[in-house]
C-alpha cells in the first residue's frame, strides 16, 4: 500500500484544482448524458482532453492524452472533479464500453477510425444487444446477418437501445453462423445508424421520457470488414464490452458525485432556516451512505491497481455492477426524500427538465431501477457472482436441455 503523493502527483493535484477554479464556469451542468452532447458539452470535453483530464491513458495516435497508466493520477483527477461538483466529461456507452473493447481486441484500423471521434463526443454509439426474446438470455439473440457480396445483410429487432434516436453508430450482437451452437454463432458488428433499413421507434419509460428505443433491421447492409474480431467471436467480444459496461454502471466516482450533491442539498437552509444536516436522523442516513460510498471508492482503487498489475480481480470485479447500482438507487432515494413534497413537481419533457434538480433527481430515482435491470439484471449478476466468483454450481437446465 502506497498512497503517498510524489512531487509530481502533488503538482498534478494543484494543477487540476487550479484548472477547475479557473474554468468551472465553462463546464456544462452535471448529469445529462440523456441527449446528444451540445456545443457546451463538446467544448468542455475538448478542453478536458487537451489537458489530459479525460482519456488520459489512451494513446495519442488514437486521440487520447497518451500518459502512462497511473492509478494515483486517475484518483486525483476523479477526486478533484467530484469534490468540486464539476462535470468530469462525457460518460456514454461508446466511451466507456466500446472504446476499451476496441483497445482490447479491435484492429489497428478500427482503433484509429473510431476511438478519437468517440472520446471527443462527436460519434455517439448505442448498444444492440437485447431482443424481445433474449434479454437475460443474451446469447439466444435471433437478429441475423447473412453474408452477401461482401456485405452483412441484417434482419431482426433489438430493444432497450438507449440513445439510438440520436446515435451515429451501433455495436451490434447478431447471429451470423446459424448452424453453429448458440454461443458460437454470434458476431459483433459496427453499424452506422443512417444505413437504409434501420428504423428506430422510441420506447417511453416510467420516467415519462423516451430514453430507450426499439430498433428494427430490414435488409440492412454493412461491409463485412465492419466486424470486431471474427465471425463467431461475437459472444467473446460482447462479454468484453459487458465487463466494461458493468464497471461503468457500478462507477464509484459517480456514487461520490451523488453523495456530494446530496450533502450540499442537506447543508442548504430550508425555508424555516434549518438544515437537514443538523438533524440527527437525516445526518445518520447520509453518513451510512457515505460509509458505503467510501468502501466502493477504495474497492475501485484496489481494482485499478490489480488492473495496472495485470492481476485478475475475479470476485472483486464481478460484484461491482450489482453493488454499485443498488447503492446508486439508495443514494437517489435519499435525494428525493431530502427534496420531500416540494420536490414532487415533475415535468420531465424538454430542455428545462435538465435544469430542474427536483425533476432530474426523480428521473434518476426511476432510471436507476433501469440500471439495476440493464447490463445484466441483479439476478443475473448474482448468478455470475455465485457461479464464477464463488464457484457454486449452475442451476440444472430445465428439461435436461
Amino acid at each position: 500500500m502506497d498512497l503517498t503523493l510524489t512531487e509530481k502527483h502533488r503538482a498534478l493535484r494543484d494543477e487540476v484544482n487550479a484548472f477547475i477554479a479557473r474554468h468551472r464556469d465553462r463546464a456544462p451542468r452535471l448529469g445529462g448524458g440523456r441527449k446528444r452532447p451540445d456545443r457546451k458539452v463538446l467544448e468542455w470535453q475538448a478542453l478536458l482532453l487537451e489537458c489530459g483530464y479525460f482519456a488520459r491513458n489512451i494513446p495519442r495516435e488514437y486521440g487520447g492524452f497518451g500518459a502512462p497508466h497511473d492509478v494515483t493520477e486517475m484518483a486525483i483527477i476523479a477526486d478533484a472533479f467530484s469534490r468540486s461538483g464539476v462535470s468530469p466529461g462525457i460518460h456514454n456507452q461508446g466511451i466507456s464500453m466500446l472504446v476499451p473493447t476496441l483497445l482490447e481486441v479491435g484492429t489497428e484500423e478500427q482503433k484509429r477510425c473510431w476511438i478519437g471521434p468517440t472520446i471527443r463526443g462527436e460519434v455517439i454509439w448505442c448498444q444492440g444487444y437485447s431482443e424481445p426474446g433474449s434479454g437475460s438470455d443474451l446469447a439466444a439473440a435471433h437478429t441475423r446477418a447473412a453474408v452477401e457480396d461482401g456485405f452483412f445483410v441484417i434482419n431482426g429487432q433489438k430493444i432497450w437501445t438507449s440513445s439510438a434516436h440520436y446515435a451515429d453508430m451501433m455495436f451490434l450482437l447478431c447471429r451470423t453462423e446459424p448452424d453453429k451452437p448458440k454461443h458460437a454463432g454470434l458476431s459483433y458488428l459496427l453499424v452506422p445508424m443512417n444505413t437504409p433499413g434501420i428504423e428506430v421507434r422510441p420506447l417511453r419509460t416510467m420516467t415519462g421520457r423516451a430514453e430507450f428505443n426499439e430498433t428494427f433491421f430490414t435488409d440492412v447492409r454493412v461491409p463485412v470488414d465492419q466486424i470486431v474480431m471474427g465471425r463467431g467471436d461475437g459472444w467473446q467480444v460482447a462479454n468484453i464490452t459487458l465487463k466494461y459496461e458493468r464497471l461503468l454502471l457500478g462507477d464509484a466516482n459517480k456514487l461520490q458525485h451523488r453523495l456530494e450533491a446530496i450533502r450540499r442539498m442537506m447543508q442548504e437552509p430550508r425555508p424555516d432556516g434549518s438544515r437537514l444536516l443538523d438533524c440527527a436522523e437525516w445526518r445518520d442516513r447520509l453518513l451510512r451512505l457515505q460509509g458505503e460510498v467510501m468502501a466502493a471508492r477504495y474497492h475501485n482503487l484496489r481494482l485499478l491497481t490489480d488492473q495496472a498489475e495485470g492481476v485478475d480481480s475475479s470476485l472483486a470485479r464481478l460484484i461491482v455492477k450489482y453493488h454499485g447500482t443498488m447503492l446508486a438507487h439508495r443514494l437517489t432515494s435519499l435525494a428525493v426524500d431530502v427534496l420531500g413534497s416540494a420536490g414532487l413537481a415533475y415535468e420531465p419533457q424538454g430542455e428545462a427538465a435538465e435544469d430542474d434538480p427536483a425533476t432530474t433527481w426523480h428521473i434518476d430515482y426511476m432510471y436507476d431501477i433501469g440500471l439495476i435491470i440493464g447490463g445484466g439484471s441483479s439476478n443475473i449478476q448474482k448468478n455470475i457472482i455465485g457461479e464464477r466468483g464463488l464457484g457454486l454450481p449452475r442451476e440444472p437446465k430445465a428439461g435436461g436441455a
Binding site: T4, D284, L287, T305, G386
Partner: protein, 365 residues
C-alpha cells in the same frame, strides 16, 4: 501508488493463518474459549514467536516497526480464526498510546516490555469511546479512584491503561492495592470484559507528555476501531467461506443446495457486501499512519460500516447452514459472537458515524 498489499505482507499473512489454522482446530478453540478470559499462554507464546507482540513497536525499542495496516492483517486473521488472544488493545492501542503520550523515560521502560511479550495491557477508554457502562475516574496525588467498565484485552492483563476525561491516561499494575478487577465472560467467549473498581490505586505511570491529550486519546481510539473493523472482516469472511463450502456439499431434493438460486443469492449478497470492506479496512489502517487528515473519518466509517455489513453476513451465513448453523456443533457461532462483540465495544455504529460527522465538521464538538 499502489492500493494493495506487498509481497511481504502477503507472506506474513499466509504464515500467520497457517499457524492459527494448525493451532486452533474447533475442539481446541472450544476448550480455550470456555474460561472466557481471552487468553492462552501457549497461543500467546506462539504468536510472540511470529512477531505479533513486537510488530508495532519501533525498532529502537526492540520491535519490528511495522504499521497499522500490518496490524489490521493480523486482526483480520485473528477474527477469521476467532483466536482467544489479546491484540487490539494490548498490542496496538497501548503501544500507540505510549508512543504518543509517554515521556522518554516511560517509553524506554514500557515499550520494550510490550515488545518482549512480558506484559499485556488491558485498555479502558470508557465513555470516551462511546461504551456503555460506568466511567468515572479521579486522579489525585498519583492515585486513581472510581470505576471504569468494559476494558478490552483485560482478561489476563498484567497492567491496565485507563483514560481520564481530560485525555490523560494512567497505567496501573493489575496487582496494585485498591484494584478490584471483575472479569465478566462476554457473549463472545474468546474475549472477556473487565470492570475496574479503583480505590486510591497508585498509578505506575501517568501519560501526560502530550500537549494535546484528547487528540492523542482520539488517535488511540481510532487505531482500536480499525482493529475491530479488521477483526469483523476476518470473522465474517470465515463465515462466508464456510457457508459457500457448506452450500457446495449439502444435498437436498437431489441437488447440492448451492445450485438453488435462493441459497446462491444469499452467498452472492454476502460476497457483494463484504468484498468492498476489505479495501476499506486497508485504507482506514493505512490512513492512520500515512494520511492524518483522513485518519478519523476513515477509522470511524470503517468500524461503523463493517459492523453493519458483518451483522448481515453473520445472519445470512448462519441461515445458509440451516438448522446446523444454529447448533453449537459446527462452531460457526464463535465468529458470529466475535462480530457481535466487536460491534458494541469502542463505540456502536451510530456513535462512530457521529464521530465521523464531527471529524468532517458537519457538527460542532
Amino acid at each position: 501508488m499502489r492500493f494493495g498489499l506487498t509481497e511481504d505482507q502477503k507472506l506474513f499473512d499466509h504464515s500467520l493463518r497457517g499457524f492459527l489454522s494448525a493451532r486452533l482446530p474447533l475442539d481446541v478453540l472450544r476448550r480455550l474459549a470456555e474460561p472466557g478470559n481471552g487468553f492462552d499462554a501457549e497461543l500467546w507464546k506462539g504468536l510472540g514467536e511470529l512477531g505479533l507482540q513486537a510488530m508495532l513497536v519501533p525498532e529502537e525499542y526492540g520491535g519490528a516497526g511495522l504499521g497499522l495496516l500490518d496490524a489490521a492483517l493480523v486482526a483480520e486473521a485473528l477474527g477469521f480464526h476467532a483466536a482467544p488472544t489479546p491484540f487490539a488493545a494490548s498490542q496496538v492501542m497501548a503501544v500507540r498510546a505510549l508512543q504518543a503520550a509517554a515521556d522518554d523515560v516511560q517509553r524506554r521502560i514500557w515499550i520494550p516490555r510490550i515488545a518482549a511479550g512480558e506484559i499485556r495491557i488491558g485498555v479502558g477508554l470508557g465513555g470516551m469511546s462511546g461504551q456503555t457502562g460506568r466511567t468515572a475516574l479521579r486522579l489525585q496525588g498519583g492515585r486513581l479512584s472510581g470505576a471504569v467498565d468494559g476494558l478490552l484485552d483485560g482478561g489476563a492483563a498484567t497492567h491496565f491503561l485507563v483514560y481520564l476525561a481530560d485525555g490523560r491516561a494512567a497505567l496501573l499494575d493489575a496487582d496494585a492495592t485498591g484494584i478490584t478487577a471483575t472479569l465478566r465472560r462476554s457473549v463472545d467467549r474468546t474475549r472477556p470484559l473487565v470492570d475496574l473498581d479503583l480505590a486510591e490505586t497508585p498509578a505506575v505511570e501517568v501519560l501526560e507528555a502530550s500537549n494535546a491529550p484528547l487528540q492523542v486519546a482520539a488517535r488511540v481510539r481510532h487505531a482500536g476501531r480499525v482493529m475491530l473493523a479488521a477483526d469483523m472482516l476476518g470473522a465474517a469472511q470465515a463465515m462466508l467461506d464456510r457457508a459457500v463450502a457448506y452450500a457446495k456439499e449439502r444435498v437436498q431434493f437431489g441437488r447440492v443446495i448451492g445450485s438453488f438460486q435462493g441459497v446462491k443469492y444469499m452467498c452472492a449478497d454476502m460476497a457483494t457486501m463484504l468484498e468492498p470492506c476489505r479495501a476499506m479496512v486497508w485504507y482506514a489502517a493505512y490512513a492512520q499512519d500515512a494520511i492524518p487528515e483522513e485518519a478519523a473519518i476513515a477509522a470511524n466509517h470503517a468500524k461503523a460500516h463493517l459492523a453493519e455489513v458483518t451483522r448481515e453476513v453473520a445472519r445470512l451465513a448462519t441461515e445458509v447452514h440451516g438448522g446446523m448453523g444454529f447448533t453449537d456443533l459446527l462452531g460457526l457461532h464463535f465468529q458470529f459472537k466475535r462480530i457481535t462483540f466487536d460491534r458494541q465495544v469502542l463505540g456502536t455504529p451510530e456513535r462512530c458515524r457521529h464521530d465521523a460527522a464531527m471529524a468532517q465538521g458537519w457538527i460542532g464538538a
